[in-house]
């Protein structure tokens, strides 16, 4: 293969925008969660798990984690793109990052609906 510098993949806007939107989602959720946690009558397991029993809290908590994982995907991918030059290693790292984050997303759902 010829060794030429190639650019022009024509993507990036969606990820850049998503990184900002997910940051806003996480900021709002953090406030919502902090207020709810501070209003707990006592710091017990029952009170804590009771926080997540409502359907709405589960829904927004899942949204928070999905936002976190998408945000992390863009950020970690940027690190690989900045510092890892060999394409093969970069592809492997991209795939590993994606797989780990997808796995985490499934794990989060399982934890949330187990509570």
């Amino acid at each position: 293969m010829v060794n030429r510098v190639v650019v022009g993949a024509h993507y990036g806007l969606k990820d850049w925008l998503a990184q900002r939107v997910t940051a806003v989602v996480m900021a709002i959720y953090t406030l919502y969660f902090a207020i709810n946690a501070l209003m707990l009558p006592a710091m017990t397991y029952e009170a804590w798990s009771g926080l997540f029993r409502g359907g709405f809290t589960r829904f927004v908590t899942l949204l928070f984690f999905l936002s976190l994982f998408y945000h992390a995907w863009v950020g970690v991918r940027d690190i690989w793109m900045d510092y890892v030059k060999p394409t093969g290693i970069r592809l492997v790292l991209h795939m590993l990052t994606l797989l780990v984050l997808v796995g985490y997303a499934g794990w989060v759902a399982q934890i949330l609906w187990r509570l």
Partner: protein
């Protein structure tokens, strides 16, 4: 200011003689009329005529004498020598190959600049006089056209250090927005297509080193933000 002696620590490297670059300790006596760092460098050249650096207009217009001054990129001709802590450490612009002493190879920098087509694209026949703009449209070009391509910004940008072959860099992106913002230019969409790329534009992580060092007080980060805004407006 009277006569005074100024201490320097200067990056020296002559690929024909030196195995490794080294820092040279050297001092020079300045005359009362010597105000700027460039004046001191010209005096230094008398003490040691092997010292190499670029300079031309000596008034911040040509952008030749950009260098790393006490750790921060700037133009020697616009920097007050008496404002600098001594010994004044001078290094070549970071991230570009050194040709000799303070002279760097700017090929990569200009390659990126040319990649954004830094000229007006308009297929309509040229009018008898000039292509007109409203004063408001012209206003948008202020803070963009003044760039002198000294490379202080791009060579202070870590994204440009890591990917100088792929990331356009702040200087190139400022110039790109200068033509995107120009109402006389007809290639806006093609220009945005050219930049919509994870490396060419989106390597900018808004750390704003470019704004911090620009000797002309320009704001490449704001220009990059406006390019992204236009892309969002085009996409949604």
């Amino acid at each position: 200011m009277s006569k005074r002696t100024v201490q320097f620590k200067i990056y020296r490297y002559d690929p024909d003689k030196d195995q490794q670059p080294y820092m040279q300790d050297i001092s020079v006596e300045l005359e009362a009329s010597d105000k700027k760092l460039l004046d001191a460098l010209v005096r230094l050249k008398v003490v040691d005529d092997t010292l190499s650096f670029r300079r031309s207009c000596r008034e911040g217009v040509c952008g030749s004498d950009a260098m790393n001054i006490n750790g921060k990129n700037g133009l020697a001709c616009l920097t007050d020598v008496d404002s600098l802590a001594q010994p004044i450490a001078l290094r070549p612009l970071p991230g570009l190959p050194v040709i000799r002493d303070l002279i760097v190879d700017m090929t990569q920098f200009f390659k990126q600049y040319h990649s954004i087509k830094p000229y007006l694209i308009n297929d309509e026949p040229a009018p008898e006089r000039e292509r007109l703009q409203t004063p408001e449209d012209r206003e948008e070009l202020n803070g963009l056209y003044e760039c002198i391509l000294c490379a202080c910004c791009s060579t202070s940008c870590p994204s440009f250090w890591w990917n100088p072959d792929k990331f356009v860099g702040p200087a190139g992106l400022l110039a790109a927005y200068r033509f995107i913002a120009d109402t006389r230019d007809q290639a806006t969409s093609a220009r945005l297509d050219n930049l919509e790329d994870p490396y060419r534009l989106f390597r900018c992580h808004t750390i704003m080193n470019c704004v911090d060092v620009c000797p002309k007080g320009l704001n490449p980060t704001r220009a990059i933000g406006k390019i992204k805004d236009l892309m969002v407006r085009r996409a949604i």
